[in-house]
C-alpha cells in the first residue's frame, strides 16, 4: 500500500499535530513513513499544512505534489489543495467551516462537521483536528484504532487529560456515519 495525505487548515488548528500522530501510528504498525510540515513564519490564523506518506516500501520524495488524500479544515486550504488531489482521490472536509462548492466529479468526498462535533460532543473546539482525522481513518482503515490510541499516548507523553480528550475526539470522528458525496449530512 501507499498513501499520500496532505492535511491543511489554519495555524492553530492542530494540523501538524494530527499529521505527526498519523505518522507515529503508521510507524508503530511497521510501515515506512515520512512527515513534512509547511514551516516558516507560521502564525496562528495563517495557513498550515503537512504531508504524510505511508508505504510498505521505502519512500522516495517526502514532498508530494499530487496526494491521494487531502484532509481540509478551512476554505482557504480547499482552494489550494483541491486542484492537486489525484484523480479518484479522497477529500475529507470539515463541513462546519468549509462551504465552498466543490467542482470536481472525479474524486470521492467525505464531509464531517468536525468543528461542531468537537465543540458540542467532545466539549472542546480545539479537538477538531482529531475528529476529522478519525473520520479519515474510519473511511480508509489503514491504521487500527487501538494503534492510534497508543500513539496518542506516545506523542502526548503522559498528559492524562489531553490523552483522554484527544482519544475521545478521534473515536467520535471514526464512528461518525459515513456519508459519501452528500451535500449536507446534518440536515
Amino acid at each position: 500500500m501507499r498513501e499520500e495525505i496532505i492535511i491543511a487548515g489554519s495555524g492553530g488548528q492542530g494540523i501538524l499535530f494530527a499529521g505527526e500522530l498519523l505518522a507515529q501510528a503508521a510507524m508503530n504498525i511497521g510501515k515506512e513513513v515520512s512527515f513534512f510540515p509547511s514551516y516558516g513564519a507560521e502564525i496562528r490564523g495563517g495557513s498550515a499544512n503537512c504531508t504524510v506518506v505511508i508505504s510498505d516500501k521505502e519512500i522516495g520524495s517526502p514532498v508530494v505534489f499530487n496526494p491521494s488524500s487531502i484532509i481540509i479544515l478551512n476554505n482557504f486550504s480547499l482552494n489550494c489543495f483541491l486542484p492537486r488531489l489525484k484523480k479518484g482521490g479522497l477529500l475529507v472536509i470539515n463541513s462546519s467551516l468549509v462551504n465552498t462548492e466543490i467542482n470536481r466529479q472525479d474524486i470521492e468526498i467525505v464531509r464531517i462537521p468536525a468543528s461542531e462535533i468537537a465543540e458540542k460532543k467532545v466539549g472542546n473546539l480545539k479537538t477538531t483536528n482529531l475528529v476529522i482525522l478519525g473520520k479519515y481513518l474510519g473511511k480508509k482503515r489503514i491504521i487500527p484504532m487501538e494503534n492510534m490510541l497508543k500513539s496518542i499516548k506516545t506523542v502526548l507523553n503522559g498528559e492524562k487529560e489531553l490523552i483522554s480528550l484527544n482519544s475521545e475526539a478521534l473515536q467520535y470522528g471514526y464512528e461518525y456515519p459515513l456519508v459519501v458525496n452528500s451535500v449536507n449530512p446534518d440536515n
Partner: protein
Amino acid sequence: MKRTQRAKRTKRTKPAQRILMKGNVAICEGAITAGCQAYYGYPITPQNEIPAYLAKRMVELGRVFLQAESELAAINMVFGSAVAGARAMTSSSSPGISLKQEGISYLAGCELPAVIVNVQRGGPGLGNISGSQGDYFQATRGGGHGDYKNIVLTPYSVQEMYDLTILAFDLADKYRNPVIVLADGVLGQMLEPVTPSTISHQPIAISKDWALDGCKGREPRKIRSLLMAEGALEEHNWKLNEKYSKIKKNEVRYETYNLMDAEIVLVAFGIAARVGKGAMNIARGKGYKVGLIRPITLWPFPEKIISDTAERLHSITQSLNHLTTFLVVEMNLGQMLEDVKLAVSGKVPVEFYGRPGGGLVTQEEILEKIKQISK
C-alpha cells in the same frame, strides 16, 4: 531449558527500535552519540531545532552548550574547544555558514577537527527559508580563503542525518580536518523513523598529542596558521595536500541503484537524490532503464564510479547504438554538474535538471525530463 530457548528467540526476533524523529533532532542525537563535548550556535531557520534541542540535552548531560553572540563567535568557540582537544560542533544555515568561513579556513590551516552542520536554505543573500542545495560550491571548494579542503558529507534521510553526524566526528578526529554535514531545509524539518545506534561511540582512540591541554611536565606546543619563516607556509601546504590525497584515497562514499542495465544514469545528492530515487522507480515501472548514483561524500567526490559508468554507457552506445546519458539533478542551477562533467570527461552527454533556491524538484518533473531525453 525450554525457557532459555524461548528467551533467546524473543531476543533475536525483537524488531529494532524505531523512533520518529525530526531531521534536525537526528543531527543532535548523532552528535550526542558521537561524544560531542561542546556545541556553539546562533539561531537561524531552518536549523533552529538544533540549538533548541541541544540547549536542553547538552546541559542534562553535563556537556557544554552556548548560544554565541554571532556566527563568528560560534565558529571561533569551536576553534577554542578543538584546539584543547574536545569534540566540538556548530550548526547554521546558508547565510550563517557564509559568516563562519573565516573560522573554517583557520581550522583547516591549523589542522583542527570540527563538525560544521549546514542545513541549507535558499540564497543568495538572505534568500528564504525553504530547502536548497545552493552551497555545494562553498562546501566542496573550501569556502574560505586559501588552498584547503573540507570533508563534506551529505545525508539523504533522517537516518543518515544521525549516522553521518557520528561519522563526521570520527573523520574530523582521524584527519584533523573540518567536516561539513551538508543537509537542507527539507531534511531538517521532516520526520522519519530512525533506528539509533546500539554501539557505544566513544571518541575513537586517537591520542591528541597535539592538543593544547596544559603543558605541565612537557614541552609547550604551538598551533597556528601564521607561518612567516622562509618556505614554511609552502611546506605546510604540501603537507596538507598529502593529507587531502590520503582522504581522497580512503574516504570516498556513495551508493548506486539499478546501475547494471541503466542507460540513463541520474546523479543526485541529499534530498534531490531522494526525489530522484522516487522518479527512478516510477520510470523503471514505465520501462525506462534508469539508474542512480548518489554521492555521500561530496568531497572527496566519487569520480571513479562516475567515470567507470561513463565508460560503460559509451560502450553501450557503441555496440547497441542506444542513446545513453547522465542526468544530474540538483536544487540549484548546476554546481555538482561541473564535477560530474569532469569525471565523465566528454565520453557521453551530461544532461541537467535543477531548480534554484526556493524551488523543490518533484518526481514528476524528473520523470518528464527522462521522457524528454528518451525521445
